[in-house]
């Protein structure tokens, strides 16, 4: 869940960053509202809103998992948009100009020059994103998606071994987060441009 949320969030976040930077004023304002909403309100509230109001509004039934994934994606995208935009802005005004000078279109410049470099800058920020998303999966409890915390709760209430069960849970979180961090580290070192140390 965390994993897919962050990956989908990356895709959406990238689009948002591009829209904000190059899409004109109106789009930029809309994106700003979107980001404010998802960054400014607690994840639990967002889950509630989507879980209870979307089926009513649209008249469709969606299962818990889908709601969870949608909200995670939207939420993660709001954060990642910030990192990606920052990365694109910081280094890439000049890179964009150089690409345009060759006759590349704006879209081509973004695709072949700006994004490949922005992604490399963003990877360290991703680690944080994964860690915080993994922790917030606990919020899914409220719409009863059987994520780790809720499983633990059930186990704890069966076994009455509350402390052990939750310690075990914490351990699993820890392992999961460090595995993801390690993978990101490997990806980062793999795509890193030789001789350039990127600090984000």
């Amino acid at each position: 869940m965390t994993f897919f949320g962050v990956i989908l969030g990356l895709g959406l976040g990238t689009l948002l960053a591009i829209g904000d930077l190059y899409g004109g004023r109106v789009l930029s304002i809309i994106i700003k509202f979107y980001v404010e909403f998802f960054r400014g309100s607690p994840l639990i509230i967002q889950l509630f809103i989507f879980y209870y109001s979307i089926p009513n509004l649209l008249g469709i039934l969606i299962d818990n998992h889908t709601v969870g994934l949608i909200v995670f994606t939207l939420n993660s995208a709001a954060y990642q948009k910030g990192y990606i935009k920052g990365a694109m802005e910081s280094v890439f005004e000049d890179q964009m100009t150089a690409a345009l000078s060759l006759g590349l279109s704006k879209a081509q410049s973004i695709r072949h020059v700006v994004l490949p470099q922005a992604m490399r800058v963003v990877i360290p920020a991703w680690s944080n994103e994964f860690a915080s998303m993994a922790k917030s999966t606990a919020a899914l409890l409220v719409i009863a998606v059987p994520e780790l915390t809720s499983n633990l709760k059930a186990i704890a209430s069966w076994t009455w071994r509350v402390l052990e069960t939750y310690s075990f849970g914490a351990l699993i979180y820890l392992i999961w987060i460090s595995v993801v961090m390690k993978i990101l580290d490997i990806i980062y070192n793999k795509v890193k441009i030789p001789e350039i140390e990127i600090t984000a």
């Binding site: 150089a98 345009l100 000078s101 060759l102 590349l104 081509q108 470099q117 030789p194 001789e195």
Partner: protein, 250 residues
């Protein structure tokens, strides 16, 4: 008479309160080498970028072989592909090798097939004597080598004119020589160029016309001999005196 490749008429660029380019008109003919110079902040880079339509002029016209680029509806990407540009601060693509830098425009803009793009990119690198560095990344090269790749990147597109914005000013003095040599080679081949530079020895050797700019406007223009012997304007006279003194010291 040779044909006019690139010209501007009554060009202005205004940033808020700053007038960076002030009513500049000039014309570069096929095979011409124009050398633009002037004090720091006088608007040289801005003029160069307007000519390449990398920024939109506030007023005036830019005309590339008869086509008015300042009209609306012009495909600027196509026009930019026909104008080579070499940047003051080099600006290679950091994530691509020398070869990748040169190939990008050939593949994405000219849509050449892989093999052909590679051949042509290697040829361009050869012309700037960087073919041995094809697989290296910018960060692994010296500034002079990077700038030569920058020149190859522009050259490979086979542009009708190359605009070079102070190609040696961000380099250590001992590295400027190799880049100036590359420029000399280009001049020898009859490349149409507008060069912003304060390399006065180079200017005297190759320029057909020198253009002195101050506070955004053309103050004086003429053959190098005019500037080296007896500039008319007081400002050009003083600036030349300073430049020549500096050249002697080096």
């Amino acid at each position: 008479m040779a044909d006019t490749v690139l010209e501007c008429r009554n060009l202005w660029k205004i940033y808020g309160k700053i007038t960076a380019v002030k009513d500049v008109s000039l014309e570069v003919k096929e095979g011409d080498i124009k050398l633009v110079f002037g004090p720091s902040g006088s608007g040289k880079s801005t003029l160069a970028r307007c000519l390449a339509m990398l920024t939109t002029p506030t007023k005036g016209e830019v005309i590339l072989t008869g086509e008015n680029l300042t009209r609306s509806g012009v495909d600027l990407n196509k026009a930019r592909a026909r104008i080579g540009f070499v940047f003051q601060h080099i600006w290679l693509f950091h994530h691509l090798t020398a070869l990748g830098n040169v190939e990008l425009g050939l593949r994405q803009v000219l849509k050449l097939p892989k093999e052909e793009a590679r051949e042509r990119a290697l040829q361009a690198l050869r012309e700037v004597k960087m073919e041995g560095w094809a697989e290296h990344y910018p960060a692994q090269m010296s500034g002079g080598q990077q700038q030569r790749v920058g020149i190859a990147r522009a050259l490979a597109m086979n542009p009708e004119i190359i605009i070079l914005d102070e190609p040696t000013s961000s380099l250590d003095p001992e590295l400027t020589g190799e880049v100036v040599d590359t420029l000399r080679d280009l001049a020898q081949k009859g490349t149409t160029m507008l060069v912003i530079s304060h390399e006065m020895t180079f200017a005297r050797e190759v320029a057909d016309e020198m253009i002195f700019i101050d506070e955004g406007a053309i103050i004086e223009r003429g053959p190098p001999e005019l500037f080296f012997t007896n500039p008319t304007s007081e400002r050009a006279r003083r600036f030349m005196a300073r430049l020549i003194k500096r050249t002697r010291r080096e």
